[in-house]
Structures are given as C-alpha cells and as structure tokens.
Amino acid sequence: MNDDALLTAVRETFAGVRMDTPPEQIVRRGHAVRARRRLPRVAGTVAVAAGTAVAVTALLPASHQPGAHLAAWTVARQGDDAILVTIRQLTDPAGLQRTLRADGVRATVTFDDQQNPACRNYSRPSSALTNSVIGMSLGNRELTLVIHPSALPADAGVQISAGRLEHPKQGGIAIGLGFGLVQASAECTGS
C-alpha cells in the first residue's frame, strides 16, 4: 500500500462523520459573533489571571468506571532533564507528589478535584511561562505531562489537580486534569 492509498483508506473511515448543524443556525450564531465584537472588552484581567491553569477532560463511559480501572502513573527523567509524567489512572496523588518532589520539582498533586487549600496562585501568572514549564499531550490510554524544572521560577511550583466529573450530556463520567503554577511554599509545594 503506497502513501496515497494509505491516506485514502484513512480518509474513507471518516465518511460517516457529518456536520448536521443547519446553515440558518450558523448564520444566527454569526450575528451573535458580530454583536459580541461590538461589546467593550472588559475581561482582560480575568483572562490573564487564568492563564496559569489549563485543563483537559477525558470521558470515561459510565459502564467502565473506577473499580477494575483504577489508575496508575509513572515519572521518568528524560535526557534533556525534562520530567515525563504519564497518568493512566487517578490514584495515589500523594505518591506522585512525593516522587516529583524527590526529582526536584516543587509540586502539589490532588486527585479529588480539590486544590490544596495551602496553595496560592502564582504571583506573576503568564501563559508563556506556564507553557515553558509544562506541556501536555494525549496518548493512547494515557495523558502525558512534560515538566521542565529548569524553567520553573525559584518562587513557583507546579500544581496538578484532577477529579471525576459528572458529564450527563455524553452519558458518562469525565476525568478533568488541570495543571498550572502556584506560589512555592513549604505547605503547598514542599519547599
């Protein structure tokens, strides 16, 4: 099978994917977009402050919840000094937190969708900074975080929080994973 044939075969598997939104609805939404553009911009501060945290949600079918599918994670140091955190299931957040701290990452980890109450948002939030410290990718059966400790400011730590969320629209339960920077302290990030 040559490259074109391979791509054609992949494309054909998407034949059943169809956009079912009627054009009238798109046009109405377009009018709303125009109206939004006419509104004064007042939310800039909120957007900047929120730039320290991002999140991803993986949907789990309701019939395959906890129990037999409890989670596991691994932490590995890469050649370029980055720390690779692979999360397959949500379990033992304290162990993950200990492991990261032992690897020199000031970190706080919770898997109950609650933040550590001792933690405070990082005082100099920046999406660019957060993105230079932490990256995320979705793999097969796992979520991967890449942490670059050398990019972490001396007064900042990494926060990883996750939890299970009801997701009635899709008829299942979602796992939400958020990560960002927090102010480093003994109570929050260990040092």
Binding site: M1, D3, A5, L6, L7, A9, V10, R11, T13, F14, A15, G16, V17, R18, M19, T21, P23, Q25, I26, V27, R29, G30, H31, A32, V33, R34, R37, V46, A47, A50, G51, A53, V54, A55, V56, T57, A58, L59, L60, P61, A62, S63, H64, H69, S127, S137, L138, G139, N140, R141, E142, L165, H167, K169, Q170, G171, G172, A174, G176, G178
Partner: protein, 170 residues
C-alpha cells in the same frame, strides 16, 4: 446581502463535512468538533466579506476552529471533552462507542500522532491542501510540512496496516 448569504450557504454546504473531519482528527471528540466548527463557520459568516476572498476559506475555518479550541483550553479550567483513550481501542462495546462513525483504531492511531503532525494530516486528507498552502495555514516552513507528513504516514502505516483493508494486486 442575499447574494452573500447564498454564497456563504453554498460554501458551508460544500465544505462543512470536510472541515468537521479535519477538526475531529485534532480534538478527538465529535461533540467538541461540531461545536468548534459551528463557531468557526459563524465567525466566517460574521466576516464573510474578508473570508470569502481568502485563498483557502475552508482552511481558514479549520484554523479558526482549532484556535478556538486552544483558547477555550487555555482561558480557564474547564472541560475539553476527549475520548477516553482506553475506550477507543479496547472497549468497542462501551456506552456510546457503538455510535462512533470512525473506526476506533484509526482514531486512536491519529490521536497518537503529535499535534502538529495531526494538523498536517488533517489539512492534507480532508482539505486536499498542497505542501505550500499547508505551510501557509500553519505558519511553518514547507520542508517542515513535508517532514511532519512523512513521519505521520510512517506512524500510521505502522499502526494501521493490520487494520486497514489491503489493496489487491492482479
């Protein structure tokens, strides 16, 4: 105005499915892809005078949809629904999985590609963009597009050869 609306409606009718497929490859969830593409088409209609003159309006829609997805993701802690990776390959009988219009193994293979490779594949597969136009849309060098596409094809070949129907030779 009515001409513009008819023009836009024709563009929407002609390109909506391919745009949806291109975005789906990147976000992995059909509900999310539908919403992002609807938002992108709405923005296209809101700026139709400009977008209609774009050299590749469908690519503009896909790019806008993907940017909207990234913005949502970064704006604040909120949900970005993604399929449970475990449910893709090994749990075809899971709730709702039977309605999935895409072969779960193909989707899983695509989701395993790095994001940039997925974008290149999506633009090539569904919008039929050549290397130069793909490079313009993604803001990268043509040589980078070629390299991403080659790596993506190699990975897909490795993952999917046992799955996809094979050519027969006579």
């Amino acid at each position: 105005m009515s001409n513009q609306r008819a023009d836009f409606a024709e563009f929407y009718r002609r390109s909506r499915n391919d745009c949806l497929r291109a975005v789906l490859v990147n976000v992995g969830d059909q509900d999310t892809a539908q919403d992002l593409v609807a938002e992108a088409f709405a923005r296209a209609w809101a700026s139709w005078r400009t977008v209609s003159r774009h050299p590749a309006p469908a690519a503009w829609v896909v790019r806008t949809a993907l940017n909207a997805g990234v913005s949502r993701w970064r704006r604040r802690r909120r949900e970005i629904p993604l399929p449970d990776p475990g449910s893709l390959a090994s749990l075809p009988a899971a709730a709702g999985a039977g309605d999935d219009p895409v072969d779960p193994q193909v989707m899983a293979a695509l989701l395993r590609l790095p994001a940039r490779q997925r974008q290149v594949v999506a633009l090539r597969l569904f919008l039929d963009l050549d290397t130069g136009r793909t490079a313009e849309v993604l803001g990268i060098a043509p040589g980078t597009v070629t390299a991403h596409l080659a790596r993506a094809i190699a990975a897909l070949r490795h993952d999917l050869m046992p799955v996809l129907p094979q050519e027969t030779s006579s």
